[in-house]
Symmetry: D2
Subunit: 353 residues, 4 copies
C-alpha cells in the first residue's frame, strides 16, 4: 500500500459524461495523482479540454482508445461508463494488478438476479462481484481499504443509506423499518450527459415532476444495504423527483419512531455516529440544509427533525450528486485504497452563491 506522499497512476475509462469531467476536475489537482489516460473510442485524439473548457490549462490529456491507453500500467482505473462496461473489463485489469472503482452499477448489487432484472443484462463476472466492496466509506471503511474492486454507490442510495444508518445499525429497534419513505429530489445532471428530449433545458427548466414512481433502480440497491445493516427486512417507499437545478440532491426521509424508542435523543445519536466523519456534517438541531451549501464539494449534510416531538422522524439529507454522490466519493474510495489521507484532493468549499 502506498505511503501518503506517494503517487498513484490513474486511468479513466469513458470520460465524456458528467462523472468523467467531475473526476477530472477533482483528480487534476489531487496532490498524489498522476492522470495517465482517459479513454473514449469515439473521441480518440480530441483534447479533453476541448470538450470540457473548464479544464483548459489544467488537463493536457487527449481522449484515446482503450488500446492506446495502457490502462494495465495504472494503479487504479475508474470506470465512468454506462452500466455493463466495467464488469466486462474488470478481470483482465485485476489480473494485471490494477484496482478498479466502478461509478456505474456493475458492483453495487450482490444479488445478481436483482441486478439482471433491473439492468436487463446478465452479470458478466459474479466471482469478481463477490469479492467487490460497496464503496460507501462511512459504512465499509475497513473493507474498502483492502478492496481490489469497489462499486461506487448510486447517488440516491448515498443520501438514503447515510440518512438511515444510525437508526438501523447495531441491532437497534428505533423506527418502524417496514414503512420507511424516502422522498428524494435530484438536480438534472443526475440524468447524465446524454442527448434526450426529457432533459433539455426547455423541458426540465421551470418545471418539477416525479419519475420512476412505479420503480427505480436505486430502490433495490438501498434495500440490499439497509437490510444488511438492519439484519432483517426493510420496507421502503422511494419516490425520486427532478429539480430544475444542475447539481444537488435532497432526500426527505420519513420514519415512524417505535413506541419503545420515544425517549431517544436522535440528534445526539446522529452526531455521535458521524463525529469522526470528515464528509458527513450533522447540522445543529432545527437546521434546514440547502443543496447549494454542498455545491461542488464532497460534503453531505444531515438535519434531524421531529416536529412537535411526536412519533414522526424526518431526516433531511443533502449532497452534490456529482461529488459525494459520484466522483468525490470515488476519489474518497481511492484515497482509502491507497493509504492516502481520506480528504486528499477533496478539500473544496462549496461554491455559494
Amino acid at each position: 500500500m502506498a505511503a501518503s506522499g506517494s503517487r498513484v497512476k490513474v486511468g479513466i475509462v469513458g470520460g465524456t459524461g458528467y462523472t468523467g469531467v467531475e473526476l477530472l476536475r477533482l483528480l487534476a489537482l489531487h496532490p498524489n495523482v498522476d492522470l495517465t489516460a482517459i479513454t473514449s473510442r469515439k473521441e480518440d485524439g480530441m483534447p479533453v479540454a476541448d470538450m470540457f473548457p473548464n479544464l483548459r490549462g489544467y488537463v493536457d490529456l487527449c481522449f484515446s482508445t482503450p488500446e492506446k491507453a495502457a490502462l494495465d500500467q495504472c494503479d487504479v482505473v475508474f470506470f465512468a461508463t454506462p452500466h455493463g462496461v466495467a464488469m466486462n473489463q474488470a478481470k483482465e485489469l485485476l489480473d494485471k494488478g490494477v484496482r478498479i472503482i466502478d461509478l456505474a452499477a456493475d458492483f453495487r448489487l450482490q444479488d445478481t438476479q436483482v441486478f439482471e432484472s433491473w439492468y436487463k443484462m446478465p452479470h458478466a463476472c459474479p466471482e469478481v462481484l463477490a469479492q467487490s466492496v460497496y464503496g460507501l466509506v462511512e459504512l465499509n471503511r475497513a473493507k474498502i481499504a483492502k478492496a481490489r474492486v469497489v462499486g461506487n454507490p448510486g447517488c440516491y442510495p448515498t443520501t438514503v443509506i447515510l440518512g438511515l444508518l444510525p437508526l438501523l445499525e447495531g441491532g437497534r429497534k428505533l423506527v418502524d423499518t417496514a414503512h420507511i419513505i424516502a422522498d428524494s429530489k435530484s438536480g438534472v445532471s443526475g440524468a447524465g450527459r446524454k442527448a434526450e428530449v426529457a432533459t433539455l433545458f426547455s423541458e426540465a427548466s421551470d418545471n418539477f415532476k416525479a419519475y420512476g414512481v412505479a420503480g427505480h433502480r436505486h430502490r433495490p440497491e438501498v434495500c440490499e444495504q439497509l437490510e444488511t445493516i438492519a439484519g432483517g427486512p426493510v420496507g421502503l417507499t422511494f419516490v425520486p423527483h427532478l429539480v430544475p437545478m444542475i447539481r444537488g440532491m435532497f432526500s426527505t426521509i420519513y420514519a415512524r419512531i417505535l413506541p419503545e424508542a420515544m425517549d431517544t435523543d436522535f440528534q445526539a445519536l446522529f452526531e455521535q455516529r458521524y463525529a469522526n466523519e470528515a464528509f458527513v456534517d450533522v447540522m445543529p438541531a432545527g437546521s434546514q440544509p440547502e443543496t447549494r451549501s454542498v455545491r461542488g464539494s464532497n460534503q453531505l449534510r444531515i438535519a434531524v427533525h421531529r416536529p412537535g416531538g411526536g412519533d414522526q422522524l424526518i431526516l433531511l439529507v443533502v449532497q452534490d450528486n456529482l461529488v459525494k454522490g459520484a466522483a468525490g466519493q470515488a476519489v474518497q474510495n481511492m484515497n482509502l485504497m491507497f493509504g492516502l489521507p481520506e480528504d486528499a484532493g477533496l478539500r473544496h468549499i462549496a461554491v455559494l452563491p
Copy 2:
C-alpha cells in the same frame, strides 16, 4: 344573482403583489367583468401597467388610494393583501352589499384561536368569519354560490385537500388517517413579491431546500378541512420545500391503505369523484404529472399511484400556485357567486414549454 350575460363590477384591494397581477391578468380578459378600481396607498396614481408591463394595452387603470377607489360601488372586492387587512374592512363593505373574496388567510380558519396562534393577531370580525365560506369550489360549491364572504384557500392546502378528498369524504375508511404525509414543493412565487434576501435569484436559484419543517401555517388549515371532511381527527405531517422555478406546486402525498380497503380501485374512485370537475384532471393510471402542464392555467392534475399493488398509496398533485392555488381559484369562486359559467375567463391552455 346575476344572469350569465351580465356584468360584474370588480375592485381589487392591494394589487402590487403576485396574486394581484395574476388577478389582473385573468380579470382583464374576463367576458363578464368590469375592472373598476385597484388600490395601493403607496402607488397612488401610478398606472398599473407601469409596474406590470405585461398588462400594457390591456389594463388602463391606475392604482388609487382606498378613499378614491369607491369600492362600495363594486359588486365584489378581491383582497390581494397581507393577512389581516380584509378582516378589518369586510364589515363596512358587506354593509354596502359588496361581496368579498379574500386571498389572504383571514377567512380560512374557523378556529380563531388557531388563527391567532399562527398569524399573531386577534381576529377582527369573528361574526363575519362565522358566515364566511372556505372557497374550495370542489368541496363547497353550493355554499360558495350563496356566500357573501369567501376565504380563498391557501396554495398548499388546495393540493393536499383535493388530493385526499376522495379518500376521506362520505365516512369512508380507506387509509390510515392518523399518519398522512404531504411532502410538498413550491415555486418561489409562492413567497410573494416582497424584497427579501432568501428569495433573491442568487439565493433561490440552482438550489433546493425544505422550510417550515417545524411548523407551517398551512398545516392547521389543511387539518381543519380534512377533519371536517373525515368527521374525525387527522394526523398530518407536512413538509414544504422550495423549488427553483417561478410558478408551480407539487404535492407528493403518502397514505397507508387500511387492511380492509386493499381491494379498492383507487383510480376509479378518483376519476368518479372528479368526473364533472372542469378544473380537476385525474390523469390516466401510471401518469407522472409535471408542474409545467398547468403553468398559467387553472387546472389541477392528480395521478394515483400504488407501487407494486402494496399498501402505500401515493398521490401526485400539481397546480399553478398563482392560478388554481390563488387568483384563478378566486375567479372561479366569483363566477359561482355571480351565477356565471364556472370557467368564464378561466379557459387558458398552460404555457408549455
Copy 3:
C-alpha cells in the same frame, strides 16, 4: 375570402416540436378555427395531449400520417417542420386550393442561391417561392392578405427588421446603413425540441454564450429584407447569444446616426410608424423592456435609446420567440389571409411573473 364570423379548417404538418405545440395552444382556442389534422409519421395514432400534457382537455386530436390527414380538405396548412419539407409538398396542396404558411425557412429567402448555400439543399419549387410573401405583417400586410403561400419570418429577423424598419423605409437617410450591429439574445426554446447535448439543462442552464459568430442563417434573411426596405446595400454585424431561459428574445441594435439626421425625433418616428399596429408596442422614452413582459403573448416591444443625445442610437426589442417570433406571427398571417380580425385568437396577456 372568408367573412369574420366564418370558420377556417386548419391542418398542421409536423406538430411534435415547439412551434407545433405553440400553434396548437393558440389555435385550439381560436374562435374561427377548426383544427382538423396534425401529422407526424412517427407518432401516428398518439393523442397529441399525451405528448403535450398542457393540451389535455383542449385538444382531442391524435397525430396521424400525412396520408390519413386529408390535408387537401383544409383551407390552410401550417408547416411546423424542418427546413425543406414544405417546399416539397407545397405545389400539390396549392393545386387543391389549400393555402400554406411555412414556419421553416423554405419561403423566407427569395434568393435561391443564398438559400442553397445556407440550408445546403436546392430549392424544390422556385416558381412557388416567387409568388410567396414574406410574412412579416407590419411590413407586408396587403400582400399577405392576398397570398397563397407565406414564409413565416425567422425569430431573430422579426426583432431586427421591426427594430430597424422605421429608420430605413421611405428612402430615409437617418443612420449609417453600412455598419449596423445587432447583438441578439435568445431563450433556449429557439433551438427546438431536438435531443442534443448542447441544449441539455445541465449544459445551457446557469450559462451564457455566443454562437454562430462566424455566420448564422438569419443574417442573410435580415439583410435581404433590409436591403429591400432601404433600397440599397446594408452592412449588418449579427451576433446571436443563448440565454438560460425557455422563451424570450432580446435584440440590442446599434445604429450610428448620420450627421444630417441628428435633429430627428426618433421616439416620435417609431411611435408614428407603429401607431396602428396591435402587436408592436413602442414603449415610452427611457423604457427598458423585459422579455417576460411578452412571455406567451404575440406582443413585440421596442424601446428607443440615444445615450447622452449623441450619435449612437440603441434599439431594444423584445418578443416571445415562439409567439411573435413563430407560431403567433403565423396565426396573425392566417387571420389576414382569411379576412379575420388580425388579433383573433391572439389576445393573450403575457404570463408574469
Copy 4:
C-alpha cells in the same frame, strides 16, 4: 515584503455580501493566509458559517464589530463594503501600516469629480486616492506590487479593459477608438446580496433585460482606464444586461478596424499580449467561450472574431463576476502585494456542469 512561504494576516470589513463570502471561500484555503477578523456591526457574534453554510467546517470565525476586530493588527484589510466605507477608514489603517484592498469603488476613479457625480458623495481622502493603484494586475503589475492601497476593478471594467488592452496600448492605431461598443451581460449576483424586488427569483428568472442604458457607473471607470492606455479620448457605448444565472459575465465588444490596420493578425496580437498571464486565456481562433467554463475560478477567457475577414472586430470575454471580477482579483492583488506566487490560493478548476 513577505517571502513566499510566509503568512499574511488578513481582515475583512463587511463580509455579509457576495464578495465577502467569496473572499472567505478563497482565503480559507489559501496556503499563506491567516484569517483573523471579519466585521459586521449588525451580525456581531454570529458565526460566519451560520450565514454561509458552505463555510461550515472551514471557517470558524464569528462576525465582530470593527472595534473588537483589531484590524490594525492585520497585514492587509479587504473592504467588501458599500461604496464610501473604505475611504473613511483608509487613512487610520494605513497609518498603522496596514495595506488596503477595496472591492468597492472608492479607489477606482482618479477623477474625484467623476466619482462624486456617479456615486453621489464627496471623496473623503483624495490624497490617499492619489497614491492608490487601480488593481488590474495585467495592466498594473509592477505598481500593485508596491501599492499600499489598491482599488479593485469593477466587474464589467475587468472584461472590457482586458478585452481592449492589446488593441489600445503602446500607441497602436488599430481600431476606431471613437466608436467602441461593449454589449455586456451579467449574472444576477453582480447586483449583490441586497433585499430588492428587481433581483427576486420570480422577477429575474426566465427573463432577460438591459438596464442602465442611459448611463452606468462602470462606463466612466472603463473610459478613464482606456484613455490612459490609449493616451487619448475613447468613445464607448456601454449597455449592460441582466442574465438569469447566478455567476458569470460576458462582454461582446465591437471595434471597427482602421483601414491602415486591416492586415493585422489580431489573434496573434492577443496571444502574445497575454502569453504569460496565468489568468487570461486567449482561446484558439474560432472559439466561443461560455461563462460556465470559468464558474468559480479566477480565469478570464477571450476569443477574437472577425467575421468574413471584414473590418468589424468582435471580442468575446467571459469571467466569473465574483472571482476575476471581484474577490479572486482581490486575492491576486494581495498575492502580488505580499510577494506570494500570483496564483496562490487561486488554482480552482471551474465547476462544470
